[in-house]
Subunit: 347 residues, 4 copies
């Protein structure tokens, strides 16, 4: 008999919300029974998202009406600062939580408060949050009650680094450069001039060069894996005129004798969602569009001692909603690929 | 026990080919056992289409090596003029064929030869071809051995008209205008200056105003359903700077007293892939991106006796590969939605 | 000696504002001496619009500080409802006004108030406003003190119709269909979810089918030129995923014996900004990108009595700021092409 | 009296060709009297490029018919390998040449032949070619008879480096990383699957990671300015889904005590086409769209000893045709900004 769990989504009117709804629609073990939105309460999901007509018969509810404490799992697809207020009561009610916002990603509360510009509402709960980078923390995720789903940049940057850091192969004290490019959906579905088609279209620019919130998150991951590397991270995000997709270009200094192709291939041999390409390949973002995949290549820069790792994800899937569903699958013992077997949409 | 059939795809290096591969990857009743390409024979499908890495373990073969006659069904995703040469032998071997090209769409051979600029290789076989507009010809499709899969424009234009024509509600002798807009993938995956990002991007234009190959195909459909309408069709296609998606804006003269909203809603009440929107709605192409759906609305022009029907499809899915799989499902008695339940990708 | 006039721009932070600034930067007869913005007062224009660094040394001012009454001409690039409040005082001070908003476009005050949802602030002044469709009203523009600069759709639709209507060649009582497609910049530079790259990108849809504000404006123009035609106009605008550009596809019924190619060519023989293409051509929007041009073709639908006119403009130039400068040139007796000789940007 | 020179363009059917035509159309000192194309000989320029209708009355000619030796200057907008064959005869006839292809960019013939995969047709002439990076070689350009117009990447990467290298401020032996992103027009106007809207659109990828032809060109420039730096250059180009625009993100190690903001500002104080932004700025590609500008910012990575320089150009203007016109202006003593004063098109 198939196990079916009840899922709720808080703040389901944004891009990670609608992406969760898309992925869960075909999940064999999940029934979405509550979606909340303060602003759209009373509106049918199928009216709000025309792509979901005929798929869901749900109506947005206020958080109060939604009886989220009867769910087995609740996803927070909310702006930063919401989950930290609502999580404690749900956790106390025995609900497992997967937070797609940044509220529980940084263990250093002072650092979190600095980068996110607010006081944390439940600092005592942060230590029990498991950082949901599935390929790093699988065991802890299985029993976690609270998952901090990673940010999109941290996922895209950390996956190629993870095996190398775990093996201690980064050179101490040398710069580790992450030049990253994101599609515009990373900015979310809020009215903002900078994300208009006429502003972000046919245009390319860097942003957050002086400091981006995902920098401390990536550093935290690095520092857990190898010493004396995290401090040397340089991270520059760029906005690229496309809807979905993220590309990281990493410039690495590895210790002599390292065979990163072998290390990566071995590490991810059994991972259904990380694909190590043959050396010399160049992954493209559309090769993962709509799918919970990270494709990675690594090669040496010509005539240099610098290694170049290229990594692509769909920022809304492996970089957000897909990884959240993957976390849920691990937490509840479902097949890893349940709900996540869609083939990338190309072209 | 699940029935599994063997499928082959001829000419699988184009956009309809890779879309068939995407859809069939998750089809519970189909094993793709042969994909052919003269130019790419010997190349692994997963190397050619980076989106299919890890999905297929197939290699492109020459048509000769591919043993297509051992398949239960063969899809032709080839340029016009190929299927008509290869179909007869396969039909003789008992293989059922779904041709995504135009070779068997037009019953009037002389008209076909005029519009397609070549002699037809097997005019005697054309009469047995069933026009695979599923919502029109479901019964004939069930037993067909040869399906002429409709063109993208004809699908998008015919679906809103079908119930009205069947009920005889178009006004005789009045112009029937189909102003259509297509994404660039309709031009296929061949090297052509006009389809370059720098030519077709950030640009909008009409084309084929003096005559387009889909005009006789739409007229043939109309003439089968109601008299004295087809000749008054005006069809102007336009190219719009997006990858997938097709939008038809139809200007109709209906007989007095017609309630087209009711007629359409009733006709498609049980159709899983045609969605009639509430009157006054405006369907958008992204609401069907990647899905085998046609969404339709109809309303009266303000203060006029002209009705405006709006119809959207993904030209590669309901307008090509998805409808082909739907035809296959009907032919083999599978569930209509088998392999076709993916939710539109939004954003 | 070159005549130099002083120009002011009210509300210069939007797309028509920055486009005015671009065009006037190279105008030999104009010095822009005031740009106003309530929200950005005190900000340097070159800081606000990075494209204008090194071009202007101006700072946004409040309307009060800007001494607009010392200008020879003031452009209103404001949302609807602003110019009607501020125009009377400037007119009284002898300043000539070109209003790019809709405040003075409709002579029927009741109709204006119905479509724009507000009371008109100066209905007594509306009659003196000249509708600035340059190719229609050149003489009145020369002496006008107040110009109502036409909307983008009305410009694109009216220019191909103008010679035919003037010659009385439209068939009475037959539908006149204007199927129009606009780039997203037509929606302006305000934060709105519907204009986000992730909403409007890779997407196509109709809007305003039940009624659009430009409908009464086009009807007003038609009714001034030929009787019994305006009421039969059907107008459906669509949003196409590009930044600039507008395309009108018109379906016309002309009186027997009409030679529209000749009529259009003759009418526009001396117009520097309207280009009649050879019959059978299909103008594309990028052929006018950034330029004050309208390119038009006309041909008969195959085997039909319906004529198809295709018309393209850059909605921000001939559809807004460019036509405004053209109006200014006519008003002040400058060369028609002064400031307007830039060649379209292709690709 | 205004001096007017005669200009010819060889191979004017590509993007750099049409861009030269756009810029020269408004140049006060140039008459374009010959444009050649073997494939389009006999076709009117205005028919081939719809954007140029009404601008040019020229017809493409074969090189033989074009009497290029009567020109004062000839631009080669040809694929690599053409100019080197035709230049010697024109030089002998006293014609000055500006080659937009790569034929004369690399002084090391063996290196050129290695990277471009052909034998050089006139190695003896290469030494007299002046590398046309205007801000580096202004004096030599004034008297040059043969200009090697720089590549787009080399221009975008070299301009921010030039003042720092000239001042000897790069740290010896440290990696110098140039992570570059280009719009698709950099691939030219040839039919290629990889540049189709459906392949390059909504997609981001690196390419040429194992070696790109612009690498030796950049290294040659660097090595002329400072020792022990060129060998440490790492260059990774990426393709970004837009038409025009190029963005370089440079990661630099500077000697202690360097004030790069000051060095750059001083060096370019009188350059009309290089704009140094305030520290902390992030230039965007659209801020230079259609204009002969390079905008640059430089800042320190947070808490690191790495400097980040950001540089944007329009690859077809300052990266190709605009710089070619700038070279011509310098060669013939025209105003630097003649023909180059168009304001960037935004949006």
């Amino acid at each position: 008999m198939t196990q079916i769990i009840k899922a709720g989504i808080v703040g389901a009117t944004g891009y990670t919300g609608v992406e969760l709804l898309r992925l869960l629609a075909n999940h064999p073990n999940v029934e979405v029974c509550a979606v909340t939105s303060r602003s759209e309460a009373g509106v049918a999901v199928a009216d709000y998202f025309p792509s979901l007509r005929g798929v869901y018969d749900l109506t947005f509810q206020t958080p109060d009406d939604a009886r989220l404490n009867e769910c087995d799992v609740v996803f927070f697809a909310t702006p930063n600062g919401v989950a930290m207020k609502e999580a404690p009561a749900l956790l106390a009610a025995g609900v497992r939580i997967i937070d797609l916002s940044a509220d529980f990603r940084i263990q250093d509360i002072a650092a979190w408060e600095h980068w996110y510009g607010m006081s944390h509402a439940c600092p005592d709960i942060v230590p029990q949050a498991v950082y949901g980078l599935c390929e790093m923390n699988r065991e802890a995720i299985q029993t976690a009650q609270l998952i901090a789903n990673p940010g999109c940049y941290p996922t895209c940057v950390s996956l190629p680094l993870l095996p190398l850091l775990k093996a201690g192969r980064l050179k101490n004290g040398m710069p580790l450069i992450a030049d990253c490019k994101s599609g515009v959906s990373g900015a979310g579905r809020k009215a903002a001039v900078s994300a208009l088609l006429c502003e972000a279209g046919d245009n390319f620019k860097a942003y957050g060069v002086g400091g981006h919130r995902h920098l401390p998150e990536i550093r935290q991951t690095i520092s857990r894996l190898q010493e004396n590397v995290a401090d040397h991270l340089v991270f520059v995000p760029h906005l690229t005129p496309m809807i979905r997709g993220m590309h990281a270009t990493l410039y690495l200094h590895l210790q002599d004798g390292t065979d990163p192709q072998q290390i990566l291939s071995d590490f991810y041999a059994d991972s259904p969602f990380v694909d190590i390409l043959p050396s010399g390949s160049t992954p493209e973002t559309r090769s993962v569009r709509g799918a919970n995949l990270c494709r990675i290549s690594i090669q040496k820069a010509p005539q240099q001692n610098v290694w170049i790792a290229l990594s692509v994800i769909d920022n809304l899937v492996k970089g957000a909603a897909g990884q959240a569903v993957q976390n849920m699958n691990i937490m509840f013992g479902f097949a890893d690929t349940a709900g996540l077997n869609s083939v990338p949409l190309l072209p």
